[in-house]
């Protein structure tokens, strides 16, 4: 009895495992084919819309570099132990004038 049930079970499992063997591929719709064929044109249009001149790229890069350089200079100046405070600068300036 048990073996009969076991063999029914095994036969069923095999049937399930083989159930997708005769799978018919789905057809590709004409709308999808059109979408796929038009990919090169779409990309070309998009890239021409997004085209940025070389001059603009260099200008942007130079601006960023300038901004970074300024930030570094200010940062170094602020953290420098030797930098004079505002009052020192004024003192030095006036003592220089007095000497004159």
């Amino acid at each position: 009895m048990k073996t009969e049930k076991e063999s029914t079970k095994n036969a069923w499992i095999e049937k399930v495992l083989n159930s997708a063997d005769h799978l018919t591929p789905l057809p590709v719709s004409s709308a999808l084919t059109e979408r796929l064929i038009s990919i090169p044109n779409k990309i070309k249009t998009l890239s021409s819309e997004l085209y940025v001149t070389r001059q603009r790229i260099w200008l942007a890069a130079a601006s960023i570099a300038l901004l970074i350089a300024t930030s570094i200079t200010v940062f170094q100046y602020k953290n420098s132990p030797n930098n004079d405070s505002g009052a020192d600068i004024y003192d030095n300036y006036f003592s220089y004038l007095n000497q004159l």
Binding site: K15, V16, H22, L26, V28, L32, T33, I39, N41, I43
Partner: protein, 193 residues
């Protein structure tokens, strides 16, 4: 499928931006890619969108294709990765509860059984059970089994697609079959009781 020599000619023309060559590529591979995506994503709309994304990637990155594998293997690899990415994004959205009302509706739909339209009527119910069981397989086993069983891809090509060895593919498919047999046996016992 195209031979390696045919591959070279086609790839050469594609690299030059030949539109006719791209149309040939679409004619050769659109059905394969679409059906592969459909088997992974189980939705016509999603499979169509994925197919479009795959061909866009192919068009944009054909210049990087070095011909180390067959063109079909390369396209299959892109397709499998795209499908996995879509599935990952979907599950991530679900996990974080984005677009909650829609996901709730989708969850209900996802719970329904998937009937592949390309399977004969007498096998439809059994195939639906098989699809459910395949979904429970670990990622690599699922990919290898789907490619081999549902797409009819050879072990050698699967090894190329998954960038692994032939013996690994054999082992993955063997383990997938064992796992499927075990879960189907459980299902059989549950429905019998």
């Amino acid at each position: 499928m195209v031979s390696m020599e045919g591959d070279d000619k086609l790839v050469g023309a594609l690299k030059l931006g030949d539109q006719q060559a791209f149309q040939t590529l679409v004619n050769l591979f659109s059905s394969k890619v679409f059906n592969l995506c459909f088997n992974f994503l189980k939705s016509t709309e999603e499979a169509e969108d994925a197919t479009q994304e795959v061909f866009t990637i192919v068009f944009l990155s054909i210049k990087k294709f070095k011909g180390e594998s067959k063109l079909s293997t390369w396209i299959y690899r892109i397709s499998v990765n795209k499908c996995k990415e879509i599935i990952r994004n979907k599950s991530r959205k679900k996990r974080f509860g984005f677009s909650f009302p829609l996901e709730k509706a989708e969850g209900k739909q996802g719970a329904t059984t998937f009937y592949h339209p390309g399977i004969e009527l007498e096998d439809k119910e059994r195939a639906a059970i098989l699809y459910k069981a395949i979904d429970q397989l670990p990622d690599k086993q699922k990919t290898a089994f789907t490619l081999h069983k549902l797409e009819g891809v050879s072990y050698e090509e699967i090894a190329g697609i998954m960038e692994t060895s032939l013996s690994s593919v054999e082992s993955l498919i063997f383990r997938a079959r064992q796992k499927l047999k075990s879960s189907l046996a459980n299902y059989f016992s549950e429905t019998e009781d």
